[in-house]
């Protein structure tokens, strides 16, 4: 066995150019598998991360309230309180489509949303100034608001200056009671994550002139119970609406699951294409091994005459093919890893070759050597020693 390895290395060394060309196919194949799989993986984790920042523990509820069948915010709260073991938080969401004004300044990009006191926790934001909206504000429809960092700096110069100032929303004056921490560290722009105003939802409902609220956000305590939570909400809503078309409940974690499976599919597809190039490389290995057997027919004859069994010759040639492919595989891995980092840096992704991609492509390249080396090796082993000795 050890002898076969030595022989293989010697044979590869004595035919450097040919060995290199044989390996080249494997090198390219392995490198492209690693590059593709690693880049897709990096992109996937980037997507997952940005998706997770939207809140994977959220369940979004959307209902169509009819005059005969509708759900009120109070009913939703009752349901939420019954299911407190399952749900961590809940807020109605009321979008108010209006500009935000202060004196002569007007901001039309700002999103204005009526929420409950729980929304700050749901978003997991902190406050730099002031306080959050309180339950009492909601009950008594206080015209107070919490604004994003961008709104505070654009309209008032700084969060400190914004506190207790008033902002005009849809013709009503709201007092700013709190300013949230800056979320987007890199840039602040119109419509960005810091460009918002939160009002008590009770005020927002009145401004939107709808009697009932059609959007709610729940957060769940345990991610693995997302299914159960979604079903509970659906059951509750079906009890009211008696029609599945009138409500829509979406668990963000399920969206993430489907996104992940989609990316995994893309990854497998690209990996498969790169795998084809490995297959082609394998045919190259087989071709060269066949040439090698023909060239070394005499050597095989001598070895057999001296008492080499079939198995020994078979082993010698199979190991030679496997060693050659494995060497190609290792070079391919090194090259692929370097290229992955370069391409990742160019695309702004944190791309590192995954251990599984490295492991799989290495074992695939060895397997190719074994598989495609086997047929030529069998031919060598089966040669008749007399004919083999007679060949030139």
């Amino acid at each position: 066995m050890l002898q076969s390895f030595k022989l293989a290395l010697r044979s590869i060394r004595s035919n450097k150019m040919r060995s290199f060309l044989t390996m080249l196919g494997i090198i390219i194949g392995v490198a492209s598998v690693i590059i593709l799989v690693s880049l897709v993986n990096a992109y996937m984790s980037y997507m997952t991360e940005s998706f997770a920042s939207l809140g994977t523990n959220q369940i979004n509820v959307n209902v169509i309230n009819l005059s005969s069948r509708f759900v009120s915010a109070d009913q939703m709260y009752e349901f939420y309180e019954e299911q407190e073991a399952l749900f961590d938080n809940m807020t109605p969401m009321v979008n108010v489509d209006t500009a935000v004004k202060h004196g002569s300044d007007s901001m039309s990009s700002t999103s204005v949303t009526g929420v409950s006191e729980g929304y700050l926790d749901i978003k997991d934001y902190g406050l730099v100034q002031g306080r959050n909206i309180q339950y009492s504000d909601i009950v008594s429809r206080q015209k107070v608001c919490v604004v994003g960092y961008y709104v505070a700096s654009e309209l008032y110069g700084s969060p400190e200056k914004a506190i207790d100032e008033t902002v005009k929303i849809g013709g009503y004056a709201f007092r700013i009671v709190g300013v949230t921490e800056r979320q987007d560290k890199e840039s602040m722009k119109d419509g960005g994550t810091d460009d918002f105003v939160w009002l008590p939802y009770s005020c927002a409902v009145k401004m939107s002139r709808n009697a009932n609220i059609s959007n709610y956000i729940f957060t769940i305590r345990q991610l693995d119970r997302a299914d159960e939570a979604r079903e509970q909400i659906e059951e509750f809503l079906y009890g009211i609406f008696k029609n599945e078309d009138l409500y829509n409940v979406v668990a963000m974690s399920e969206m993430l699951d489907s996104l992940n499976s989609m990316i995994a599919m893309v990854s497998a597809g690209l990996g498969g294409i790169a795998g084809i190039s490995l297959l082609v490389a394998g045919v190259g290995v087989m071709n060269i091994m066949l040439v090698s057997v023909t060239e070394r027919t005499r050597e095989i004859g001598i070895r057999k005459a001296l008492g080499a069994r079939k198995g020994v010759i078979l082993e010698q040639f199979v190991i030679e093919a496997a060693v050659q492919s494995a060497m190609g595989g290792i070079i391919g891995i090194l090259l692929g890893s370097a290229a992955t980092r370069l391409a990742g840096a160019a695309a702004g992704l944190d791309a590192t070759p995954t251990p599984s991609a490295v492991l799989i492509s290495f074992s695939v390249s060895v397997a190719i050597g074994l598989f495609f080396g086997y047929a030529p090796a069998r031919r060598a082993a089966g040669l008749n020693p007399i004919d083999a000795l007679r060949s030139e």
Partner: protein
């Protein structure tokens, strides 16, 4: 009398050449005992190579029995033939048949390698063998760095390394000039005096005269088998 080392019993080897049937061995019976020095002589096409292949366990007869050291090879599988070649026979070929990419020591080690002998012992025995042919100092050289006579001596060293029962030399001087031929023949004689059984296959009657016993093949049949002096008389 020594026990028979080789017993050919009514051996036939038939090849199909197109429509024609070629009887390369046509009823050969032959017994060779341990310690003999036999020359098998015949023109090309006489069937002496076929006989050598069968004696060397490189091939099996179409019909008949061949006992090598008491073992019947005619029904053996390829691997069994490889094993018996390895144990019983040391080959010396006309073209030396050394492996060009291995050094002398590695070449001589080959039969020991296939016999499964551990590395250290293998090396010692191969060195001993090289010493016997006077090429110990050159063990690191490649065959191509040696003269023809030296290469043939390496191939004899390789044949001796496994301590075989029989040394089978196929035209051992065919590629050598007369002076080196003399050397190689003297060396084979010396090995015979030390007790080795030797068979030389040759087309050259003058080389056959170096042996103690001569077997002449013609058209696949033995048409002379006797002492070298008798053979000299009929030449």
């Amino acid at each position: 009398m020594e026990e028979p080392l080789i017993e050919l019993r009514d051996i036939y080897k038939v090849y199909q050449m197109g429509d024609e049937e070629v009887r390369a061995s046509d009823g050969v019976s032959l017994t060779i005992r341990r310690g003999e020095f036999v020359a098998v002589v015949g023109k090309s096409g006489s069937g002496k190579s076929t006989l050598m292949n069968i004696i060397g366990a490189l091939d099996v007869p179409t019909e008949g029995e061949y006992l090598l050291g008491g073992e019947d090879t005619s029904q053996m599988s390829d691997d069994q033939l490889a094993d018996i070649r390895n144990r019983m026979i040391g080959f010396v070929f006309q073209q030396y048949n050394l492996l060009p990419k291995l050094n002398l020591l590695e070449n001589v080690e080959l039969p020991l390698l296939y016999a499964g002998i551990p590395a250290k012992e293998r090396r010692e025995r191969a060195m001993e063998s090289l010493e016997k042919v006077g090429l110990k100092e050159k063990w690191k050289n490649l065959p191509s760095q040696l003269s023809g006579g030296q290469q043939q001596r390496v191939s004899i060293a390789r044949a001796l390394a496994g301590s075989p029962s029989l040394i089978l030399a196929d035209e051992p001087t065919g590629a050598l000039d007369s002076r080196t031929s003399r050397e190689v023949l003297d060396f084979l004689k010396q090995l015979n005096q030390e007790g080795n059984t030797i068979i030389i296959i040759t087309h050259d009657s003058s080389i056959a005269l170096e042996a103690k016993r001569v077997v002449r093949i013609h058209d696949g049949k033995i048409n002379f088998d006797g002492d070298v002096n008798e053979y000299a008389a009929i030449l």
